[in-house]
């Protein structure tokens, strides 16, 4: 087999590196912004350090630079591995990398100076929007091109989720960013949509991207890395099929649940609400499937930290999804909307689901990318796990609690029909909770730094070796990939006899890739032999 058909890991490595870098920057800014909410004078009187400017920088960085880069990395990795083919067009793949980093740097150059289109999660101004569109189209070409030239007969489900994400984000981004440019420097444009319609389009975009398709794409990550880590398949293929189709057919229409009791026509609000309630079906399908997949292997959570990341991610997804369904109901929404509850909710998805999956996937993927047996330090992974878990829990409980208290206080009435609390009193009560949230955020950031350090050391330890055969890695790829040590023992050396070859053989597992030799039978080379 020629080198053409082996994997392009270079671009995956690049994206993986930048995911870590931007993750730290974005979370750092998030922590600073959280600190400003608790201690406002931390804006130091500098305009670009004020909360209003930092907040979109934080959300853009974590969505596009952390989440976005992580998905680029994992989708490029997964699509090659499951299609048994090299990425379509290396040049274009490299372009997506440099183009995307360019978008992020431009975001950092404009948002802090107040150049913003003012639309949630789409603050970037029109020239950057155009660049995003171009890069995204290139991404679609690379991804779908790879699928087209696959060496397998079917497209593995993980790729469906990535594919849906790519297509949906293209539509969301282009339609939502439609604007009339009026200046290049400072960048300025006006939305093409009038008032209420603009609000609806903007909600459609942010729900589609932040609530639906970006978290959805991480199912692609889950459905690849979870079975890979466990060494046996996902529980039910059919469940994935129904999950996927119910998800893509509903997710884009639930946005008006965020605009209940607004100027939007009542019927639009109701329709969005029903779709949002309906989303419980795909969301539970995913959770059930994930947990059933792990169900035979609970004991492995003791020894396999990567598995822990993946399973906890699933748990947070469950929390987030249930919250989302319940709070989309009109009367419940009236209670939670416009409080810190919403912030807690999105961070269940951001810190919990997206973050944990990205961490788990990276710990599993990085050693393979760099042709090494395992991460530099397993204890550091464990420490990261606990930092991230405690940090996320603190964050969610503190802000969820703050949201509840705020809402209760705003609704409270005295006997004479007057309001019981001043607005500022609800802030005073929230203040300690904001401090706890800050702590949670700091822990999470610390975990992120640990991971980056760990990754750094991992790569550094391979450097002399890697330098020699950096170029040849792709050629020996099929060997690396099916290195026995990789399959199950990435993070837990076979100390536990249950994992070793002596494990009683479950009939379902008999043909399972439990050893390297079976794996190699599925290598691209082998496939080509057929």
């Amino acid at each position: 087999m020629n080198t053409h058909n082996t994997y392009n890991y270079t671009v995956v490595r690049q994206f993986a590196r930048m995911t870590l870098v931007w993750g730290i920057v974005g979370m750092g800014i998030g922590v600073w912004a959280a600190a400003e909410l608790a201690f406002p004078s931390l804006n130091l009187g500098i305009p670009w350090l004020s909360f209003g400017r930092l907040s979109p920088v934080h959300s853009s960085l974590l969505l596009f630079a952390f989440g976005g880069n992580a998905l680029f990395a994992t989708s490029y990795y997964v699509v090659q591995r499951t299609c048994h083919t090299r990425l379509f067009n290396d040049g274009l793949a490299a372009f997506t990398f440099w183009g995307w980093q360019c978008v992020i740097v431009l975001a950092l150059c404009t948002l802090p100076y107040g150049m913003t289109s003012g639309k949630a999660f789409a603050e970037l101004e029109w020239p950057i929007d155009i660049l995003i569109t171009i890069v995204w189209i290139a991404y679609a070409v690379v991804f779908f091109g790879t699928i087209v030239q696959r060496n397998t007969s079917y497209v593995y489900v993980a790729n469906w989720f990535f594919g849906a994400y790519i297509l949906a984000v293209a539509a969301l981004h282009i339609l939502n960013s439609a604007a009339l440019p009026v200046g290049l420097w400072p960048m300025k444009s006006y939305s093409l949509y009038p008032g209420t319609v603009d609000a609806m389009v903007s909600a459609w975009y942010s729900q589609g991207l932040v609530d639906a398709f970006m978290p959805g794409a991480f199912f692609g990550v889950l459905y690849y890395f979870l079975p890979r880590q466990l060494g046996h398949p996902v529980y039910s293929y059919r469940l994935i099929v129904v999950q996927f189709w119910t998800f893509v057919s509903l997710a884009l229409w639930a946005a008006s649940q965020h605009l209940l009791y607004t100027a939007l026509p009542d019927w639009t609000q109701s329709l969005g609400m029903v779709c949002a309630v309906f989303l419980i079906a795909p969301f539970l399908a995913g959770v059930i499937n994930g947990f059933m997949t792990v169900s035979a292997d609970w004991h492995r959570l003791h020894s396999d930290i990567i598995l822990r990341f993946l399973v906890l991610a699933l748990f947070f997804y469950g929390v987030e999804g249930l919250e989302g369904v319940v709070t989309s109901i009109r009367s419940v929404n009236a209670f939670t909307q416009y409080t810190d509850w919403t912030v807690s909710h999105v961070h269940a998805a951001g810190l919990g689901w997206i973050g944990f999956l990205a961490f788990g996937a990276f710990y599993a993927m990085l050693p393979r990318l760099f042709n090494i047996e395992q991460m530099y330090s397993i204890p550091l992974i464990l420490l990261h796990f606990w930092f991230a878990t405690v940090g996320t829990m603190l964050y969610l409980l503190a802000l969820g609690g703050a949201g509840m208290v705020q809402s209760l206080m705003w609704y409270a009435q005295n006997d004479d029909g007057t309001l019981a609390y001043r607005f500022v009193e609800s802030l005073q009560v929230s203040h300690p909770l904001y401090v706890v949230r800050l702590l949670g955020g700091m822990l999470y950031l610390a975990g992120m730094c640990l991971m980056t350090y760990n990754a750094w050391k991992t790569v550094a330890s391979t450097l002399p070796k890697a330098r020699k055969n950096e170029d040849s890695v792709s050629e020996v790829d099929s060997v690396i990939d099916h290195h026995p040590a990789e399959v199950h023992h990435d993070s837990h050396p076979p100390l536990d006899p249950r994992h070793g070859p002596h494990r009683p053989v479950d009939p379902r597992h008999s043909a399972n890739p439990h050893t390297g030799s079976q794996h190699s039978s599925e290598s691209p080379a082998h496939h080509a032999d057929h």
């Binding site: 591995r81 499951t82 299609c83 048994h84 397998t152 079917y154 593995y156 993980a158 459905y223 690849y224 079975p227 890979r228 046996h232 398949p233 996902v234 529980y235 039910s236 293929y237 059919r238 469940l239 099929v241 129904v242 189709w245 119910t246 057919s249 026509p265 009542d266 019927w267 609000q269 109701s270 329709l271 609400m273 029903v274 309630v277 309906f278 419980i280 079906a281 539970l284 399908a285 059930i288 059933m292 005295n414 004479d416 029909g417 007057t418 309001l419 019981a420 001043r422 607005f423 500022v424 990939d481 099916h482 399959v487 379902r508 043909a511 890739p513 794996h519 599925e522 290598s523 496939h527």
Partner: protein
Amino acid sequence: MSDFLSLWIGVCVLGSLFVCHVLIEWVLHRPDERHEAHKVQYSHQSWGDVRSYDHPVPRSWLYLLYACTLFALIYFSLYPALGTFPGVLRWTSQQQYKDEVGEYNLVYTERFNRYLARSITEIASDPVARTTGQHLFMSYCSNCHQGAGEDRTHYPKLTDRDWLWGGHPEQIEATILHGRTGIMPAWGSVLGEKGVEETASYVMTLAGYKPANPEEVAAGKEHFAAYCAFCHSAGGRGDPRQGAPRLTDKTWMHISSKDALSEAGLEAGVRAAIADGFVNLMPPHWNTLDRAQIHVLAGYVYSLSN
């Protein structure tokens, strides 16, 4: 919305629900040839290092899906969702708002309106009414005035008898109802630096300080008569018709209580006041509160100093 559009929405929504179900049923019951072909009991598909089992979809999930569908259908028939079809309940968010406001009014408005029949001084001496007044004050006024009586630069103290716009009950009510704009012109360019200093020295004597330089004070007195007495009245007694404060007492609105402690701090503050002037806004409340609430508030504010 046209009937056509409405119909289109209805058909789209119900149609896609239906199609979704058909597809799901198809997926659930589709026999799997590959299954048979490979004679592998569990393995549906395999791609190198990952596979999927082909377990059936759990029953519980299916029931959940049916429940969702049932919920959707019931909701669509009860509430407005399918275009112009108003739903059996004829619910609208506007009507809900009106109903809730109506409910509130039924209970409380009448109670409030009873206060309108009573004079402000009566309200001020009624502890129940005062408590209600305090609640209202906390919600609507404390952003600016803080808890009544707390000291805050640029905002008048409401607990003393020193009034900008007059302390009669009717004057207080008028202040709350229509708002006030206190305007003190900037005199820096008219008087020049020296003129400002001289006038400030004179104002200091009004407030009871011994003059350091009698000549300066005499010049300041002339300036005052020429430029200031028009509003602040001769001798700085103040004029409630213009909201011009009395300058002969020791309460200052625009000078922080810390600065006002020392003579030097006070003089600097007075100079700045004269040179730069102020525009100070007390917003009107006729458009945000109803008359009865304002009446009760006036009673509460009046009670603070009487």
